[in-house]
């Protein structure tokens, strides 16, 4: 346990040196929320019919709440360690990790958690400001009883998203252009994970594609639970899907890590 805390502490110290950078990144991350909220208010406004209009089963307040949730989740569980791993592999910096007593994935996970605790802390005031601005639109959870269920879902989303990013990072063992793969991952999460649009608004065939892939459980599932669109057994089904994909990702990780490091040793000498 102590060594885990030590890694966390080092991450914090390291990252605190870059406070200003963190604040700027956060503003960049949060700015789409302002644009999106303003745009949806306008879209529902021109679709007319007072508050009765729904798109993909969501009314205006649910839609704005959806984007607030997704923005917050993006800060909380957004997984971007793939970029760092790709650089580590490309520049050979991953070599020292192979000699350390903890697996590489544990280091990356702890670093990520350390970074997340900081950014989430800094983000809260900005987030509060956004909530105040949108106070007429943001809804509380559909049912207060779902809050603990939500915590479980978000934790699973985080693990799944982290593993996906990690696997994309490992692709750098084989691919020169792994960085572009990281962008493809981001695109898929945005489109099919529900980060850009609620998946229920997508055309049917895209929803069908989304159902077959793990991404929709990252953002769309927790947001759906919060809004009360996903409830009862559907929540359990969602968890089952998440756990199944986590298992698949973990097995893939074991295989890729073994093959990749073996290959890396050959290349790096």
């Amino acid at each position: 346990m102590n060594r885990y805390l030590a890694i966390l502490r080092i991450t914090w110290q390291d990252r605190l040196a870059y406070r200003a950078e963190a604040i700027i990144w956060m503003l960049v991350d949060a700015s789409p929320l302002v644009v999106m909220a303003a745009m949806w208010i306008a879209i529902y406004g021109t679709a007319t019919g007072a508050g009765a209009v729904t798109l993909g089963g969501l009314d205006l307040r649910q839609m704005v709440t959806y984007y607030v949730l997704v923005t917050f989740l993006g800060i909380l569980i957004g997984a971007h360690s793939d970029m760092a791993i790709i650089e580590q592999i490309r520049d050979g910096l991953i070599a020292p990790f192979l000699l350390r007593p903890l697996p590489h994935i544990t280091f990356i996970l702890l670093e990520d958690i350390g970074w997340k605790t900081l950014t989430t802390g800094v983000f809260l005031p900005v987030f509060g400001l956004a909530l105040f601005w949108l106070r007429d639109y943001v809804l509380p959870p559909a049912d207060i009883a779902v809050v603990p269920l939500l915590v479980i879902t978000i934790a699973l989303s985080y693990v799944l998203f982290f593993l996906i990013a990690y696997l994309v990072g490992l692709c750098a063992f084989w691919m020169q252009e792994a960085m572009s793969l990281a962008h493809v991952k981001d695109l898929l999460v945005m489109l099919l994970g529900g980060a850009m649009l609620p998946t229920s608004v997508l055309p049917d065939w895209m929803q069908a594609v989304a159902m077959a892939l793990p991404f929709r459980t990252i953002y769309a599932l927790p947001a759906g639970i919060y809004l009360g669109q996903v409830r009862g057994w559907e929540i359990v089904q969602g968890w089952a899907t998440q756990v199944a994909w986590i298992a698949v990702a973990y097995v893939t990780y074991r295989v890729m890590w073994r093959a990749g490091t073996r290959r890396f040793a050959l290349v790096g000498g």
């Binding site: 200003a20 700027i24 503003l27 306008a42 879209i43 993909g56 020169q176 695109l187």
Partner: protein, 261 residues
Amino acid sequence: MRYLRVWLFFIKTAIIRTLEFRADFVAWMIINLLWMVFQLTFFWVVYQHTDAIAGWNADQLRVLLGTGYLLEFAVWTFGYPNLGRISGYVSRGELDLFLLKPLNSQFHVSFKRMSPHNVPSVAPAALLVITGVQALGIQVDLLTAAVYLALVGAGMAIFYSLWFMSVTTVIWLQRCINIQELFLVALPAQKVPPEVYGLLGRFVLTFVVPVAMVTVFPTQAAMGLLSPQMAGVMVATAAVLLWLSSRLWTFALRGYVSASS
């Protein structure tokens, strides 16, 4: 004239550099186009559910988006590769090298590099504008086209000036910081109908921090909705901001303490 020649030389070196990594070039080109397709998907999906966003129908919005992408093309091809490095130049003391060259240092730091893999995205952007205008049934004469292109240029100049000024502050901060990202917060805001922001927000974004002007004025010009006075205001704004950015740069350099030896 001399500056044009130097710039063409910069572009040539950038292209040669890119040709060294051809697979990378293709990969990034595809990613850029995918991002665009993906953002357009958003609007496509929304227009499945509604006829207009803040009074803009799909064809009008197509012109606005195309204009927005033309600006983004300039931002990623010429802006980011240069302005994104200034902070690094300052913290590593490399800015000295720019100051010593017999070339305007602002021009040099702003145009030295480019990323060719963004260039292909200019085609779909232009296509959006052209098909949008056609779908609206607007007859475009040579003058309108010329005014449109001039205003797009003015828009790029406005965006560049504001961005450059925000990055210039790094000379006082004297450390490596991602200051170049800060102004990019404005980027998503300019591809949306300005009516979306309400009256106050629209005023602020048009005249105080004129990022909405950057795409909306040329778009209105293409649709024949912009008065000559407003076109004049935009060009004047661009000129004033460019002048201000060069004043700020020289002023900041006066306080520049080199980080190298």
